[in-house]
Amino acid sequence: MIGFNRSQVIGAEFPDEDTVRFTGIQEDHIYGMEILMEVGISDACIKSVEGRMKRYTTFVCPQAVPVLQTAVGLNLREPGWDARVMREIGRKGCEHFAEIVIECGRSFDLAMASRDLAKAIEEDADLDQQRFVDDWFENRASAVGA
């Protein structure tokens, strides 16, 4: 029998030319939480974040909801941004909120690569998709100096 199970679901939509809107859900045997987060495409900064705590372990946990606002303005291209989220939102607020914000942030490039690949396939059905993805990430790494 399974002793512990956690599921994360991250969705990304593009409501306008300069915004990615993420919805993140984390459910496990112990905790249940959701995040709604918008990120600017041009500056990779978190524009807004909201959180909903559904299942938690202590009566103090909901006090972590306002702490989420410290993520606004955070740049997802900044080295160590994920460690900063864990420090500022996780340790001072809720580690599980931080985990979802980090997973949304990690999905930032992938969501854009996925959107760009879909557009490229529309223009060229015979596109070498693997090459497109490899080139996309290589160019992205060069662009951000990674």
Binding site: F4, T58, V60, K92
Partner: protein
């Protein structure tokens, strides 16, 4: 508005009859699918074996790093794990997803052992005072909880009576 990207991720911990733990971490999204499996010894929590499978359009860095996952074999889940795993694999670029998968699997192992203790604190017959007392006992048992989140900051009601230097105040 429809989604342009969707990621599903599952991590499971399953105790085996021989006392070891089998950890399965799986991810699928629009671009890639990855499966990581760890065999973890108990009570040492040493990673005895690590396997990875990568498919669909995973970026080159992910494919390369998945091929090096056996580097974490012999590593013990415990203090300093993050630094060790990031050092053995990578913390940079898309390939870092493999190290993150190992760390999330290790976190799931810890939560597997935490779950029964949290469950014991639940139930209608447990008063608020008793619940706080049990939380404080948990803090004494696991001091790493101190300042790990808002519930265990110095000014939290759960920390009342807990001596941050070691004993009770």
């Amino acid at each position: 508005m429809i989604l342009r990207f969707l990621r599903n991720k599952v991590v499971e911990v399953e105790p085996r009859a021989d006392g070891t733990l089998f950890v399965s971490w799986r991810l699928t999204d629009d671009l890639m699918n990855i499966e990581i499996e760890l065999d973890v010894e108990t009570p040492s929590l040493e990673i005895a074996e690590a396997r990875a499978r990568v498919g669909r359009l995973a970026p080159k860095a992910v494919r390369e790093m998945a091929g090096r996952i056996d580097r974490v074999e012999g590593v013990t889940i415990g203090g300093g794990l993050r630094k060790i795993v990031k050092g053995l694999l990578t913390s940079e670029g898309p390939g870092s997803i493999v190290a993150d998968a190992v760390l999330e699997s290790a976190n799931a192992v810890i939560l597997h052992f935490t779950r029964p203790r949290i469950q014991a604190n639940e139930g209608a017959n447990v008063s608020e005072e008793e619940r706080i007392a049990r939380s404080q006992a948990m803090i004494k048992f696991n001091p790493r909880l101190i300042r790990s989140c808002i519930a265990y900051q110095d000014d939290s009601p759960l920390m009342k009576g807990v001596d941050l230097s070691g004993g009770n105040r």
